[in-house]
């Protein structure tokens, strides 16, 4: 414990932050450098303060902790994220781990537990029980199978063969009109298919749907 760790607290509840701060102040190697009450300001703070560790509350209004974790990872900030959760829900934690959290603490964890977790993360370890980690890795098995055709993989997302045809063309950058002409269906039908695809892949728009499709291997790369 030679080095000091700079910690950022992201939690929408001020009293909770105060409490956490009080808790962490019992360890002299921990320095709380900043606080944020939502994801947006958290990201700004993380960029500005360059903390070593961020303690991120899982449940926040607006952008929740898991989504925020995605954003931090996407922004490629050099910060280890520890999720703080009220729920001792394994799946919840697994999800956080899969999204790149370095550890997690329960909200009713004792001072010793919290500090131990921070210490492990500060040392560059994953503060996750081996059992959970194993499960997190194992749970990848429940992802859509990597084998099989792109169409079969897409079926795991309830994407029908017809929608898959449309999805491939969307990924090729075609407009609805062009897709309709290609598949000899009306533009309205294409539009419906695209809406279905976006919904089924949990995408925000057609571009994101195409990106997700590529990432998940739902379409052949050579198409």
């Amino acid at each position: 414990m030679t080095r000091r760790s700079r910690v950022l607290l992201i939690d929408d509840h001020e009293m909770a932050r105060r409490g956490l701060e009080a808790m962490l102040s019992t360890a002299d190697w921990i320095e709380v450098v900043g606080e944020a009450d939502d994801c947006e300001s958290g990201l700004v703070q993380a960029e500005r303060l360059q903390p070593d560790i961020a303690l991120l509350d899982i449940r926040m209004p607006g952008v929740d902790g898991l989504a925020c974790l995605d954003r931090i990872r996407a922004a490629a900030l050099p910060v280890a994220v520890i999720m703080v959760t009220l729920y001792d829900d394994r799946r919840y934690v697994l999800e956080a781990i899969r999204r790149g959290a370095a550890g997690y603490v329960l909200k009713d964890a004792t001072t010793a537990e919290v500090i131990a977790t921070l210490a492990a993360v500060a040392d560059g370890q994953l503060a996750i029980e081996p059992q959970l980690l194993r499960e997190a890795l194992a749970s990848r098995d429940q992802e859509p199978p990597v084998t099989g055709t792109a169409r079969q993989r897409a079926a795991a997302y309830s994407v029908t063969p017809r929608e898959h045809d449309v999805l491939s063309l969307v990924a090729d950058g075609l407009t609805n009109k062009e897709i309709g002409a290609r598949l000899t269906i009306s533009e309205d039908t294409v539009k419906k298919h695209v809406q279905n695809i976006i919904w089924k892949l949990r995408a925000a728009d057609r571009t994101q749907a195409a990106i997700i499709a590529f990432k998940m291997g739902l379409i052949e790369n050579d198409t």
Partner: protein
Amino acid sequence: MPASGAFDPRASTGTLNSALARTPLACVAGPRLAPSQEMPVGTARAGTGSRRRAPVVPPDGSRVPGGRAAECRGGRRSAVAAAAERHPAAGGSTVRCGDRAHGYTRVMPEPTIERQLAGAELWARTDSADPQTRFLAGWEDGATFCAAVCTTDLGLAFCRSCPTDVATRAIGTGRPASARCPAGVRLLAFPAPRGDPDRAAVLRVAPPASRDAVAIADRVRVAPAVLRRAARSAERGDGRVSLAAARVLRDPRRAAEWQVDQRRRGADRRRGAAAALAQMIATSEELNDSYRSAQRQRTELERSRRRLDRLARTTLRAKDDERARIAHQIHDTAAQSMVSAFRFLEAARTESAAGGAEEDRRVAAASERVVAAIGEIRAVLARLLPPGLEELGLAHALRSQLDQGAEGNGIVTNLAGELPRLEPWVEQAIYGMAAEAISNAVRHGLPGSIRVGLRVVRDRAVVTIDDDGRGFDSATVVRSAGSGLGLLGMSRQASWLGGTARIRSQLGGGTHVRISIPVTRHRRVDVAAADTAPAQPADQRGTTG
């Protein structure tokens, strides 16, 4: 000759023709109508001269006189009466009218001759050069049909397949000719009236064999059994009766009277048919009315059922929304404050123990209490709103549920597929049903494995929960109330959402639950999706809708 005014009711029970039974049998007394014939069809009036017998109820339900008196006004004697008198063997009798005030002579011919004559026809050559014949007069005055088989419940079934060539033959040869109709009735044709080379009469002299009568079942649309019964109970042919009838028709004067009589009878018959038809129409209108009102009631029922469903859905939604709201509120206020308090206590506890001192027991005790309270709140929250359902969706929440169930039970679990995001309350409702199915499987089924499948089929979210446990007898379990939703509650809740929950199970065969909910109206595309990924360049084409 027994001078009985008695009339054998059996003979008039529609064995030959319901129309005959329906038409008050009148004296065949020339053009003037006998009073009994002016009587509306179906009016029950016993002949004044005869003892009343057991009422005869023809198939249409109308009543006819128990015995029939042929009244003769003005003392004119009918052809039939004359025939009956002249041919006692054919069975005719003359009785005095019981009503002395009138003092009419009442003639009671045996009905067989009447019926023979009623079923007779008169045919004529079209013109002398043409061998064809045309129908001149006869039963119903123009509509030939077989008196032996026309009786149906409606009295309106016509066979109309009588052979016409038998009359032609009789006219052509000038000699009697005989034939059988498709229904097996024996027809006898002979030149009549006497001395007319261009005319022939046709008598139906013998009823069909019951198996022959069946042949026209399709044509008259009468059940074969009815025809068979009619043919069996028809009176047998009697040569002497036929002969007596033939004599009437051979006699030019009486044949003319017969013709007039037939015409009148046809009119009666048609009137009767019209009355029956009117009755039928009235009945059908009544039926139609009651059908309509039943349909209205059904529509009304359906409407109120839909209203109830809508109400149930609204209630369900309000309930789930409210639960989520309460959960959020507790989570964001009380729970956070507890957490905060706990952390302060923890900090104080740690500080009190700093420097090797004994930690403050009171602070430690308070801290433990608060931890316990947080645990309780957490349990309440989890019951109000399954953790992770909102943030991570159904698949996640159901995985947690599966994990909990499988823990320590050695149950292999599998969850395949994903569901796209739906409105929170719909997700909660589906979760409630699926979680119920899972916990049922764990609690009652002792399964080795539970498989959960999530997928979208057309516009429906389909969740399947299959286990390989003991199963149950669907009949006994569905209605039993237990904790949680129960099987019945599950399907009810599904129906509120416009979907179905089907539970198949048999002893030793595991349990299979399939929840199918239409989701077109309940899609969620914005929140979760937009939040879980970095902002993407906006769709330039703007065609995503």
